[in-house]
């Protein structure tokens, strides 16, 4: 393998790792630290500018002092903590055991092929989470059942829309509308002691927890632009949720959650 081929391969690999971490929901400083560890193993120095849809990276080969800057466009975000965990572990091992480029490439390919939980498991787990929220907000077990069913149908819609590659905010809006329409039936038929709670919590499975937490983590670590970008994503998602809820409440003329 010639030097320029090796350089191109390394550049692509490091950009791909950074991209994988970003779309899986890692915060900016974590991505930078992981990339630096991989780069150290490969005897490279990297400087990166990471953003929501683009990564710019300047790489310097420490042995030949050849340097180059690359721009990489990111695929759509899909939170996946298994990827973050596995890449983090691989980065420590790579640095400690001085992995070469082929070993890192194989490991990244393995991480990319790791399986996710089946859709039905996710559906049931998230619906239970929403039922839990309903309990936290003082709902009784009938309200929790309503919340469970609403979240289940809402997430079903979300998964189906996701398969058709719709815009993220359209998907969130449709899921929120479905979940709150189902939960509104609980108010119309007066199910349980506190039917409003079921409506208020039925949409909480859509809340942008990861963007909002990462937003403030980035702001705290002075990655201001990324922090603001993530906060804007979070706000857009909240806006989509509230619009769906508002529409459902107007349809059933419910005044207050």
């Amino acid at each position: 393998m010639s030097d320029s081929e090796k350089f191109a391969k390394t550049a692509h690999l490091l950009l791909e790792i950074a991209s994988l971490l970003m779309v899986s929901g890692a915060n900016t400083s974590r991505i930078q630290r992981s990339i630096n560890r991989f780069a150290a193993a490969l005897n490279f120095t990297v400087h990166t500018w990471i953003h929501q849809k683009t990564i710019i990276m300047t790489l310097t080969d420490e042995s030949s002092k050849v340097s180059d800057t690359r721009v990489f466009n990111l695929p759509p975000h899909a939170i996946n903590f298994k990827t973050i965990s596995e890449i983090s572990k691989a980065s420590w091992k790579a640095q400690r055991e001085d992995w070469d480029i082929d070993k890192i490439t194989t490991e990244i390919e393995r991480i990319k092929s790791l399986d996710k939980y089946p859709n039905i498991v996710v559906l049931i787990a998230v619906s239970f989470a929403v039922a839990g929220f309903c309990n936290i907000f003082k709902g009784d077990y009938l309200n929790m059942t309503v919340a469970f069913v609403s979240a289940f149908t809402g997430l079903c819609v979300s998964q189906q829309v996701h398969k058709r590659h719709y815009n993220l905010y359209v998907r969130i809006f449709l899921a929120s509308l479905t979940a709150s329409l189902v939960a509104s039936l609980g108010i119309v038929f007066d199910i349980g002691a506190n039917p409003q709670t079921a409506l208020a919590t039925s949409i909480l499975f859509l809340i942008p927890g990861v963007p909002l937490i990462n937003s403030f983590t980035d702001l705290l670590e002075n990655n201001i632009l990324n922090g603001l970008a993530r906060f804007a994503v979070g706000l857009m998602i909240v806006l989509a949720i509230a619009t769906g809820l508002f529409l459902a409440m107007s349809i059933f003329s419910i005044n207050r959650v």
Partner: protein
């Protein structure tokens, strides 16, 4: 007293369940699920006990998140996964999602529905109080969970032994 305690335990149990549900949505590794449940349960217990004594929700969230931050050091070393993998799902039930969409709902009522000036004033009040409560709770959560790293002046939990 026992009734209050039982209620606290029930609510904390469901916080743990909610944390696990979100963990599965985020595709966490299977080995972390038990830690997520226990951390979610204990964080819920701390948060709701503090709320029960009439303190502000931002303070309660800060305390619960600091607990998660400190507890994640030994857990991360024990199960060999980076702390974000189990600390973020644990904090999801504490995310002020309700305040977030309540802010937007008040805004939408203000813009599209309400015409009575007095009720419009109440809606402005609701927008500000819910909106800034959301921001303070989020600051409490992120600051709390990052506290060990800030105190020890380190970038990664792996460097803390």
């Amino acid at each position: 007293m026992t009734e209050i305690l039982l209620h606290l335990l029930e609510v904390s149990f469901w916080s743990g369940i909610a944390a696990v549900g979100f963990g599965i949505l985020f595709n966490v590794p299977k080995q972390t699920i038990l830690s997520i449940f226990i951390l979610g349960f204990l964080a819920g217990l701390i948060k709701f006990s503090i709320l029960h004594h009439g303190h502000h929700i931002a303070l309660a969230s800060l305390a619960a998140a600091s607990f998660v931050g400190w507890a994640s050091i030994p857990i991360a070393h024990k199960i060999h996964h980076p702390p974000v993998v189990f600390s973020i799902p644990t904090m999801i039930p504490m995310i002020p999602g309700y305040f977030a969409y309540e802010t937007i709902l008040s805004l939408m009522n203000f813009v599209f529905v309400e015409t009575d000036p007095e009720k419009r004033l109440l809606l402005i009040d609701a927008m500000f109080s819910h909106g800034f409560k959301m921001i303070y709770v989020l600051i409490g959560l992120t600051f709390g969970v990052a506290l060990p790293l800030l105190v020890m002046n380190k970038g990664s939990i792996k460097q803390l032994r």
